[in-house]
Amino acid sequence: MSSSSTPAALAEVLTALGDRVAPVSMALERTLPTAPECADLFVEGGLVRGRTLSCVGPASTTVALRLVAGAVAAGGWLAVVDVPTLGLDAVSELGVALERVVSIHTTADQNSADQDSADQDSAGVWADVVAAAADGFDVVLTRVPDGVRAATARKVATRLQQRGVVMVVVGDPGLLVCDGVVESSRQVWSGVGAGWGHFQHRSVEVAATGRRLPGRRRRTIEFPVSSEIAAPEIPAQEIAAPERSALSNAS
């Protein structure tokens, strides 16, 4: 059929073209989908593979989870490194599929007398774990431990770039150089008063800045968002979405 061959031919031409104009358009193509209301924060409309983002501010964890929700919904896996306090109800409410979430702890249990060397050790394990997670996961959500040296941080960043993994850092990134900072600056809660109601709704002002993000993009995100994430418009060839086919011949 001609209708199916034309896009294929077009894709071929585009690929050839992409090779010739290499780095600029590649970045655009190599994106992971993000939640629709977060897409405006980035010029590319998604999370560019290989980049490190840091989330700070009073709603940092929520925003970080919402950033990665799109990629997980499209079939990617999320590695949570050293965020033992993650509230899984919130994770699931923000649209992240829990069956593709794996948590890894790196903090060693030994009570070393020498605090500095213990820090160094745990920072080393953290780097190893993030590097290993980069092989199999699409997104890494982490908190950077104390004592990560600049050289270690650079090594981790290089590895993530090679593997095309997006890392989202919650809280202080330390010496890790982040490509973008997503800052939640103000949040306003509603639904609760002087002794009545319960948390229902909040609006969070979010701004994205950083060395790879031109200008300062702001917007206000209203939580809770509808938990439905629309099917990614960007064809995620690399993340094969295991869609449940409505036309499966069993029904």
Binding site: G171, F199, S245
Partner: protein, 574 residues
């Protein structure tokens, strides 16, 4: 012509392995569901698949134990050794369930009935002695022995044998007639077909195995694909062994001689992981999957342990490693002084695929099976486990509860079959995710940061006095501010900066597990909005470093809990 098989099956092996006799009321739970229960509990109405709450309602004094596959395997080892005396060539399907070819032993003992009776006696007394020793003598641990043509029919016979309280023997050539009147649900019970597939059969009016067997194989293939044909073959009393099953060439065998014998199980498992990956890759390249795997372990002192593991759906690398782990753990745990005791480090690990068949399982991808990303993640999880430890790599499992910290539990990823997890989560809701409302829990949105160990705090009224909540859930004064405490009680608290409370709601009292002295909790929850300031409460409340104080900061949400006359910050809505 199917091979004549003998199956030994223990009903609810996980509870027996946990050391409970049939007279005690106990159940083994996984992901908030009952996976096995004693017959006493069954008599009270505890059903497999039931939620924790329902089980406790049926039977308030029930003992609930967490599921531990390794414990099951360890406890099963003496049984395997006892059965191996009768026939060395036996296949383990899972702890509590093994099959073997019946022809040899049957000739030796003089007939199927004799061998079944002999096995029943050996195994039942063996289990009563080892596992149920602390329960008391004379306990009859249920065990079923069944003989029939083909593995499926003999497994069904063994399960019926438990119900009928005597061994079930099916005549040679009688498997088809034996299966025909049985309900089609047996396919699901024995793990051969998906629940969805079986449900579909029932909806289509195929209520008995015979109904399905009466259809033309070609029609079944056209309509249901390979899984359907598999079900059809079983229903017709044919063997599980697919026509494409072959005994692979011996060079498929993979082994690793360890020059430095390893004394730690984890190191041996690591080697096994590499072998299993290599083996599945080699088989996968030929489009085959291993259904029967022989694992051989040898120590530097020459002691050997050899087991055949069977899984009709095929063993992937993770499943192979799991079986090596079971076998090794069981061997290490063997009683001191027995003749096959392990005394040295492991020096040889050998994986031999004994039966392989065409990998038709890949077709399942259409129904939402494994994607490439899933496979990569599973490999990486195995690797991460070796970098850190088993307990450090975890996946969430729904647990249920009123407090945010109770609602999910992290279980080691190595104890969870990640392939089946996706399906289990999406269809039955057994893996994770609430499958219904939980009365008394706080409504959404939920806090994004939940502390396993809540931070001590102080809540003050507008005059700076501590706020108190009385037993009836009344607040002494409206809370106006709160501060975090650090340090400990003996050396005196260091008090953080007071944050103004701009809005609050509560108290929502919780009084749970009051019938249980150890687990009783009584507390009141508050949601609090405080203004401004860095929080310093991120994880490690050491010296709240909120010197930066970013001015406006907006409002921050906290979940504050009053318990034992003290205040705690249990979670942040950050």
């Amino acid at each position: 012509m199917s091979v004549r098989m003998l199956t030994v099956w223990f009903p609810d092996w996980p509870v027996t392995a946990a050391g409970f006799g049939p007279d005690q009321v106990a159940a083994v739970m996984f992901a908030n569901r009952v996976v096995a229960r004693t017959s006493a509990a069954a008599a009270e109405g505890v059903v497999i698949g039931q939620r924790r709450r329902q089980a406790q309602r049926r039977c308030p004094d029930i003992e609930l134990i967490d599921h531990d596959p390794t414990r099951d395997a360890r406890a099963f080892e003496p049984v395997v050794r006892a059965v191996a005396e009768v026939s060395p060539r036996l296949d383990l399907i899972e702890p509590g369930w093994l099959t073997m070819a019946a022809r040899g032993p049957s000739k030796y003992f003089g007939g199927d009935a004799a061998v079944a009776a002999h096995l029943h006696e050996t195994v039942a007394t063996g289990v009563a002695e080892t596992v149920a020793a602390d329960v008391g003598a004379g306990v009859d641990v249920g065990v079923g022995v069944g003989v029939a043509d083909g593995r499926f029919a003999s497994s069904v016979a063994a399960r019926l044998a438990v119900r009928r309280r005597h061994s079930v023997l099916v005549d040679a050539g009688g498997s088809t007639a034996f299966c025909a009147p049985l309900p089609i649900g047996w396919l699901q019970t024995l793990g051969e077909s998906d629940p969805e597939m079986v449900e579909l059969f029932v909806r289509l009016g195929l209520r008995r195995l015979g109904d399905l067997a009466a259809l033309e194989p070609a029609d079944v293939l056209g309509r249901f694909g390979h899984p359907g044909v598999h079900a059809h073959r079983l229903a017709s009393g044919a063997d599980v062994r697919l026509p494409s099953t072959t005994d692979p060439a011996p060079e498929r065998r993979l082994d690793q001689v360890l020059d430095d014998p390893v004394a730690q199980a984890s190191a041996a498992i690591f080697v096994a992981k590499q072998l299993a990956d290599e083996l599945t890759q080699a088989l996968g390249a030929a489009g085959r999957v291993c259904t029967r795997l022989v694992v051989e372990l040898e120590t530097e002192h020459g002691e050997r342990s050899e087991r055949a593991w069977y899984r009709s759906a095929g063993l992937n690398a993770a499943a192979m490693v799991e079986r090596v782990r079971w076998q090794l753990d069981a061997w290490i745990d063997l009683q001191r002084g027995s003749d096959q005791e392990i005394t040295g480090g492991i020096s040889l690990i050998r994986l031999t695929p004994d039966e392989v068949c065409a990998d038709v399982g890949v077709q399942l991808g259409l129904w939402g099976g494994q994607s490439d990303a899933d496979r990569r993640a599973a490999r990486t999880i195995a690797r991460l486990t070796t970098i850190t430890s088993d307990a450090a790599v975890t996946v969430p499992v729904w647990n249920g509860g009123r407090l945010p910290a109770d609602r999910y539990r992290w279980v080691p990823a190595s104890n969870v079959d990640l392939d089946h997890r996706v399906r289990a989560v999406s269809s039955a809701g057994t893996g994770s995710g609430p499958s219904g409302p939980w009365p008394g829990a706080l409504p959404a949105p939920s806090p994004a940061t939940v502390f396993a160990d809540p931070h001590p705090a102080e809540v003050l009224d507008d005059a700076g006095r501590p706020v108190q909540v009385n037993g009836r859930g009344a607040v002494s004064a409206p809370p106006a501010g709160f501060r975090l405490l650090s340090g400990d009680e003996e050396r005196g608290w260091r008090r953080g900066r007071v944050r103004d409370i701009t809005a609050w709601a509560g108290p929502w009292p919780v009084d749970e597990r009051w019938w249980e002295p150890g687990g009783h909790r009584r507390l009141a929850r508050f949601q609090v909005v405080a203004s401004g300031g860095g929080d310093g409460g991120d994880g490690d409340g050491d010296g709240d470093g909120d010197g930066d104080g970013d001015g406006d900061g907006g409002q921050r949400g906290y979940l504050v809990v009053a318990e034992h006359r003290r205040w705690w910050v249990a979670a942040l809505y950050d």
